[in-house]
């Protein structure tokens, strides 16, 4: 019987999550372009890009942190989380300043990307076989 380790789980999550968000970006930018023109297209691409960066950062921080000691693990995961939230607020406020972006398109790709990647995360974790004794 073949077991997974956290590294294989997270690389699988990152690959599948990227694939899903890229497909949401393509679909969303097509819908955004036909519904709202170029602002819709740019909005959808911006929303998908932000979702990709901020969703992948959590998995990356756990992947990097799991190779270190327990204290460093929590430092990297929680510090990364805090930093990510601040960067997310800055990214949102910058995007709100840009006139040529359709806000509904940003929100409409950001939220499905986040929810879809959650579904991918849950799927990969339930399918993975991590041994109880490391």
């Amino acid at each position: 019987m073949k077991f997974d380790n956290p590294q294989t789980v997270f690389t699988k999550v990152l690959k599948l999550g990227t694939l899903l968000i890229v497909s949401i970006a393509i679909l969303g930018s097509a819908i955004g372009f036909f519904a709202a023109g170029l602002p819709g297209l740019f909005g959808a691409l911006a929303g998908a890009a932000i979702a990709l960066v901020f969703v992948s950062l959590t998995a990356l921080s756990v992947l990097v942190g799991s190779k270190l000691s327990l204290g460093a693990f929590y430092g990297i995961v929680l510090g990364g989380w805090l930093l990510k939230m601040v960067l997310f607020m800055i990214a949102i406020s910058v995007l709100l300043q840009i006139e040529d972006l359709n806000g509904v398109a940003v929100f409409g790709t950001l939220v499905p990307s986040i929810l879809g990647s959650l579904a991918v995360d849950a799927y990969v974790v339930t399918k993975s076989k991590i041994p109880a004794v490391s």
């Binding site: 789980v9 998995a59 756990v62 929590y74 607020m89 950001l110 490391s134």
Partner: protein, 77 residues
């Protein structure tokens, strides 16, 4: 001074309260997830790898709430 007078004297952007609220819930949630994981690893250190993956799933679900909450200005502004 009653509540209505205090409320009438408030000025500023209501969205700021929204940002704060979007941070409070996930902050409590991630804190609970992490504290319980530390407790579990202290009880059974050999389960650390499994618990870290489960903890990450918990954090991912909780932070989704924060990300969605912070992105709402795009549709409610």
């Amino acid at each position: 001074m009653d509540v209505i007078n205090i409320a009438a004297g408030l000025t500023g952007n209501l969205a700021v309260i929204g940002y704060g609220l979007a941070a409070v819930g996930p902050g409590i949630g991630v804190g609970l997830v992490v504290s319980k994981t530390i407790e579990s690893i202290a009880r059974q250190p050999e389960l650390a790898a499994k618990l870290q993956v489960t903890m990450w799933l918990g954090i991912a679900f909780t932070e989704a709430l924060a990300l969605i909450g912070l992105a709402t200005p795009f549709i409610f502004a």
